[in-house]
Symmetry: C2
Subunit: 487 residues, 2 copies
């Protein structure tokens, strides 16, 4: 498939605008709005029949902080310095982190919250202290990642950074997209649905200066005087791509995204000379809570060994679960703490009056689980976890019979997976080639790019939506500053 | 940097040939020779001042088998069916494996051995039964991977497949390259050293039809009637690329390769529309043997837990070592089995008369190592390893004081690393774009492509050299079958 067309081959344009935004999810909407507000004429082309993308499917929690704290954090008595926020994010992604992107984000994240409120998204001044994927109390601030767990708690002061639309629960995405689409419409951004960007048009100098858009079987040639922003999402719905880039997750994944997450923007960007990075990394979510009391349980692998502090965020569990020697992952728990997880279908593989009985019934190596539980219980009674440093609030000996072993076998529970790889961009959204040279006229944001979250290991709820909306805005402002080309 | 030049922009060619091979290591040499033998006029362009590449730096062990056994295997009494070989390789690379490539390889690997002998490489009919990275006895056949260890031993009958040039030890690469370069010269292949392929030339139809070669500050325009084969090695020496694609290994790696492994061919292929896959995978070698008696020791992580059967190949150890929660990896061993590893500089972190003393001195969690050793010893005494299934020949209780804990901390030992990602090609060597469409005139082989070995997890010594020489030959035969273009 040819994804680049030379300007010379275009007889005439059907339409001309300043900026074309491909994709109308959170990234595309924010990008379009900022470009329009900065004076550009903007056209959004969206493959689906309506706006939303994967942002709308999410709770639209945004992971924000820094600058002493966002207005919401400060109103609720939480302080969060920019350095504290920076240290946390850098610890989350380590060698994978893009330092300059993280820096721009932590500097601007508090302002991004103000922008969202000004957009018309309502945030309630209430802090949800519990451990849940999304607060269902209507409160707008909560912990959503590994802030309070080892080793992060030793690197940065734990601060809640999950900013959730008020009274929205899992439906925050609807609220944010309602506000965003309303402002986009008011601002005079033009939108065309059921229209896919099929090709990019490149002029003689190499600059991207328009697109070929496909709608109802017809091609339209659209000129973009300032350039094109690719915001078409990730590639979790493109099976040919996932088989090639995340083969280790392909078979066990519940694909999490909207049907348009087929990598369109990534492939267009690559055709224009862009390069992909981080393509084998993905979010892998195993929601072992709520209920939060399940955090008292312990996870073991096929060897009956623990491998993680269970008070971590669900994507960190997903990360380490996929690294074990086999996909047989279990939770061991006693009757005092047993419950069914709210968001996962799990099976009991063994129940018994003693740990030995459970171990035998589950076919675990003789003595291994008994040893693991005895060791855990001994130290839990003293409030410590010398192996993995689970926080003391989640440490209680597991000693109330009967005991259960619950299967979290990956091929059975099929964790939620979405991709974290894509085009390499500068923090400004400018797409770069393998030599890190900017491809003129081409910008990208959202899960089409490798963004702030780079591995499941350090992910927290709200990081992706915060990244895509924040850097969507940055790309929109950046493209609006470009001179309008004459051709 | 512009890596593609349009044919229209070339005023005139300085030189014309049928086939250009970029890079003169094992892949390039084999490719050139086969193309020449099939009747093509062939020119090799090599960046360095001599032939060899990373193949010459290696022991040039080749991982071969199937078809009932290679001549060497059969002469030494080993049988190896094609299916057995196939099952083994597929188990090694699992979800990452390229089934069609593996299939072509197992079908042709026995013939490849004959071809190597006919080339003039001498193989000694001697089997080395020991456990070493490379047999130093002069013998030519040995086990080099995970064949005899769990879980592989249960999936395929263990057969030695490491084919090593006779009496060469670590210098097999010199022997193979000596034979290969002699045959290449005899066959009339032209070779130009100190010449780098800087750009590919593409005609109007998209076909690659030549190169711009850079030598002594001068560009030469060379036409290739049948196309170009990229065999310039991997990218382990390109720090900008490793930082981007293997960030998790970048800081701990001893970069293993020749200075020309800077990704030239990968970047050229991408510029031509090719796509990269498997870019974050790399060989990670921790040579915990020889001496083989070190296999009696046990590896533990920072939690004092075992994480692997120690009778595995060194790259599988490397793989799992990098997946532990911290980079602090140790070998625990008793006085009866203690030795220094031959190929690694390691430090003793603790020595003691009891396991408890060692544990305390090393600062491991209280009781954790004691528990691990007690469990291991109990079952080792019975000849079993219920947790990781180390083969019984390597199981002996570790009970002879004093005991030692040896540090294999990754940031200190700095394991050997080379890359396993690159261009996606069909088994024929044809480079494909993200839609898996062939880019006409463009071929690749060697570590420029994602080949048979796709993860360190299933790697065995000899897999890379076997892959690069075998598929180098395939690519050479494939390109020689192409019609000669007129332009």
């Amino acid at each position: 498939m040819q994804r680049i067309v030379k300007l010379d081959d275009i007889k005439q344009f059907d339409l001309t605008t300043d900026v074309i935004v491909a994709g109308y999810g959170g990234a595309g909407g924010c990008s379009a709005l900022e470009a329009r507000r900065a004076g550009s004429e903007v056209l959004i082309l969206e493959r689906a029949s309506g706006a939303g993308g994967s942002t709308m499917m999410s709770a639209c929690e945004m992971y924000l902080g820094g600058n002493g704290g966002t207005k919401l954090q400060r109103d609720l008595g939480f302080e969060d310095s920019t350095e504290n926020f920076y240290n946390y994010l850098m610890a989350c992604f380590g060698d994978h982190a893009d330092e300059s992107r993280v820096r721009m984000f932590v500097d601007g994240a508090a302002e991004h919250f103000d922008w969202m409120e000004a957009l018309g998204v309502r945030y309630k001044r209430g802090f949800f202290p519990g451990r849940d994927v999304v607060a269902l109390t209507g409160d707008s601030l909560q912990f959503t990642g590994n802030e309070k767990s080892y080793p992060f708690s030793e690197i940065a002061a734990p601060v809640p950074r999950g900013h959730l639309p008020a009274d929205a629960g899992h439906e925050g995405g609807l609220r944010v997209m309602a506000a965003l689409t309303a402002r986009v419409a008011e601002a005079g951004v033009k939108v065309q649905y059921d229209t896919r960007v099929k090709q990019l048009i490149q002029d003689e100098s190499g600059r991207i200066c328009g697109v070929v858009a496909r709608s109802s079987g017809t091609d339209t040639y659209i000129r973009a005087r300032q350039g094109v922003v690719l915001c078409t999402g990730g590639f979790i719905m493109n099976e040919a791509m996932t088989r090639r880039h995340i083969p280790h997750l392909d078979a066990i994944a519940t694909r999490h995204g909207n049907p348009g997450d087929v990598g369109d923007g990534i492939l267009l960007g690559v055709a224009a000379g862009g390069q992909t990075i981080n393509m084998s990394e993905a979010f892998v979510g195993i929601a072992h809570y709520p209920p939060e009391q399940l955090t008292f349980g312990i996870f073991v692998n096929e060897q009956g060994q623990r491998f993680i502090n269970e008070d971590i965020y669900l994507a960190r569990l997903g990360h380490y679960a996929t690294l074990q020697a086999s996909d047989k992952i279990y939770m061991f728990i006693d009757n005092k703490h047993f419950e069914r997880p709210a968001y996962m279908k799990t099976e009991l593989v063994a129940v018994g009056e003693t740990v030995a009985e459970v171990e035998r019934e589950a076919g675990l190596p003789e003595g291994a689980l008994q040893q693991t539980v005895a060791y855990y219980n001994k130290f839990a009674a003293e409030g410590s976890d010398p192996l993995f440093h689970k926080a003391s609030e989640w440490l209680q000996p597991l000693e109330t019979a009967p005991f259960a072993l619950v299967s979290y076998r990956l091929s059975e529970i099929k964790p939620f997976v979405f991709t974290l790889g894509g085009l390499e961009v500068l923090p400004t959204g400018e797409v770069v080639n393998p030599d890190r040279e900017v491809i003129p006229g081409l910008y990208a944001a959202g899960r089409t790019v490798a963004g702030i979250p780079r591995t499941s290991k350090g992910y927290a709820s709200g990081m992706s939506v915060a990244d895509v909306t924040f850097f969507g805005r940055v790309a929109g402002r950046q493209i609006a500053r470009q001179p309008r080309s004459a051709n």
